[in-house]
């Protein structure tokens, strides 16, 4: 049984300009009493998520919609525990996997095989279980002998195949995905879609941020609309129209 609940969660984060990121300038500011230097403190605070509450249970597949900068990615990172809320509480039960930017922890000097183990271990596998995933990834990526070569020799499509295969070989109970990505050529794309859908159907809770409404209709059973850091749940019927 997996759950994911937000209790009046708010998150503001600062965006620093180059001056505010300089220790030298900060020290000068203190040294001059902060009067002349008051202009250098250009810290903009973004209120990304504003008093959001909801509860997700087993079987929930949520589509996150909203225009660019509405806070979709921030909300996903809060769900994953990568960002900590400024106020409120995020409580999750169950193992979480995220697909935001692919290829975290990849070292292009190392071979495909070494990178598979490395990335899987980063995602929480032990070395042994990571190695057990290799045959499946070998078969899916169709990279063959290339897996023995350093990843820097791969084309971007090949790299994408590898990263996608690694990301989808995790078995989480809560899955968070930010925007679907195009994977390789047409024939492979279909294969990737199939693997993706199978993967999604196996998890307890699924959250998916996307601009592609058709895909959301196909994959999700609840829809959250984000607007200026607020979350409104839309009924699926309204959304379909």
């Amino acid at each position: 049984m997996s759950t994911l609940s937000f209790k009046s969660v708010s998150l503001q984060y600062p965006i620093y300009n180059a001056n505010a990121m300089s220790l030298r300038n900060q020290l000068v500011r203190i040294g001059t009493g902060g009067r002349i230097g008051s202009d250098t403190r250009n810290i903009v605070t973004v209120s990304a998520i504003d008093n959001v509450s909801f509860e997700l249970k087993n079987g929930d597949a949520v589509g996150l919609v909203g225009h660019n900068g509405a806070g979709k990615s921030t909300l996903l990172r809060l769900m994953a525990g990568i960002y900590a809320p400024v106020s409120g509480q995020v409580v999750s039960k169950g193992s979480i996997a995220t697909v935001f930017e692919l290829g975290a922890g990849m070292d292009t000097e190392l071979t495909g095989y070494e990178n598979i183990v490395r990335m899987l271990m980063l995602l929480g596998h032990s070395q042994l279980t990571a190695k057990q995933c290799i045959p499946d990834i070998e078969e899916f990526t169709e990279l063959g002998g290339f897996l023995n070569l350093p990843v820097r020799t791969y084309s971007s499509g090949m790299m994408m195949r590898l990263m996608f295969a690694v990301a989808t070989s995790i078995r989480p109970s809560i899955l968070l995905i930010d925007e679907m990505f195009g994977v390789g050529d047409a024939a492979f794309h279909e294969k990737a879609q199939l693997r993706m859908h199978k993967w999604i159907s196996e998890v307890d809770i699924f959250v998916f941020a996307s601009h592609n409404h058709d895909l959301i209709k196909k994959l999700c059973n609840r829809v959250f609309r984000l607007d200026h850091g607020k979350v409104h749940e839309e009924s699926m019927c309204n959304f379909l129209e």
């Binding site: 990121m21 990568i82 930017e101 975290a104 980063l122």
Partner: protein, 260 residues
């Protein structure tokens, strides 16, 4: 539970991963070149031989005395300064991981430390060769204390990397500030000379924590037990440093993902 303690516990649970990453980094360096990290060892050897020959005549000291102490000092300094120099970017360089996967923060300083420990292990070949060519006057069980000293040094470096890493993520010019100051710290650390050669004006040398680290590792190899003061000061630095790091971490670590 205390955020800091929890992060430490979770990080140590992921030690196999940290080892794997550090070994992978080392292996990647072997791939780029035939000698790999041994290039560093070669560079260090040339440095030790060159400096040993020059300084033994300048300082008017017998080579058999200077070269071993210089070797150990120089290699230990290389290890310490590499850790400190890279500390400020330890989180920035791992931004893609931190922003995409939920991981405890301490695994990154640990990875940095272990990678450089592996480098030190490579370089210890030189120490062994030098100790064979210029054997220490007495071989005693005191030498084990050197290993204990190294552990104390590593425990101190860990909090330093964490603290500087957090500061370096928030203030990006810290990297330049550190690399500007490290050469001065080198001259204030008894690497080439010995702390007791300076005479009475050595108080500034003893204000430098790295002086203590040097004694802890180097002195026992010559059968000298570092004085109790040196141990106490090191332990005090360690205690205060960890408390300071814990304070900063508990206050600021939630913001770290935004800084990078």
């Amino acid at each position: 539970m205390n955020l800091f303690i929890r992060d430490l516990i979770f990080s140590f649970r992921r030690m196999p991963f940290v080892w794997h990453m550090a070994l992978g980094d080392t292996r990647a360096r072997y791939k780029r070149s035939f000698l790999g990290p041994l290039w560093m060892t070669l560079g260090a050897t040339i440095g030790v031989v060159g400096l040993g020959l020059v300084w033994s005549s300048i300082l008017n000291q017998p080579r058999a005395e200077l070269i071993p102490s210089l070797t150990i000092g120089l290699l230990l300094w290389q290890f310490i300064s590499a850790c400190i120099n890279e500390s400020s970017t330890v989180f920035v360089r791992n931004a893609s991981v931190i922003r995409n996967v939920k991981t405890p923060f301490f695994i990154f300083p640990l990875q940095l430390l272990i990678r450089h420990l592996i480098g030190l292990l490579h370089n210890s070949i030189i120490i062994i060769v030098v100790l064979i060519v210029y054997p220490p006057p007495v071989i005693s069980s005191v030498m084990i204390l050197s290993l204990f000293g190294l552990i104390l040094v590593v425990l101190n470096l860990l909090w330093m990397i964490m603290l500087l890493g957090m500061l370096g993520a928030r203030f990006r010019d810290l990297e330049q500030i550190i690399s500007a100051f490290m050469p001065i710290v080198f001259f204030l650390t008894p690497v080439i000379f010995k702390a007791d050669q300076i005479g009475l004006n050595s108080s500034i040398i003893w204000l430098n924590p790295f002086t203590y680290f040097m004694s802890l590792v180097r002195d026992p190899l010559y059968g000298r037990v570092p004085s109790l003061t040196i141990y106490l000061v090191t332990l005090l630095i360690m205690l205060l440093g960890w408390l300071l790091t814990m304070y900063f971490f508990n206050k600021r670590s939630a913001r770290l993902a935004f800084w990078i």
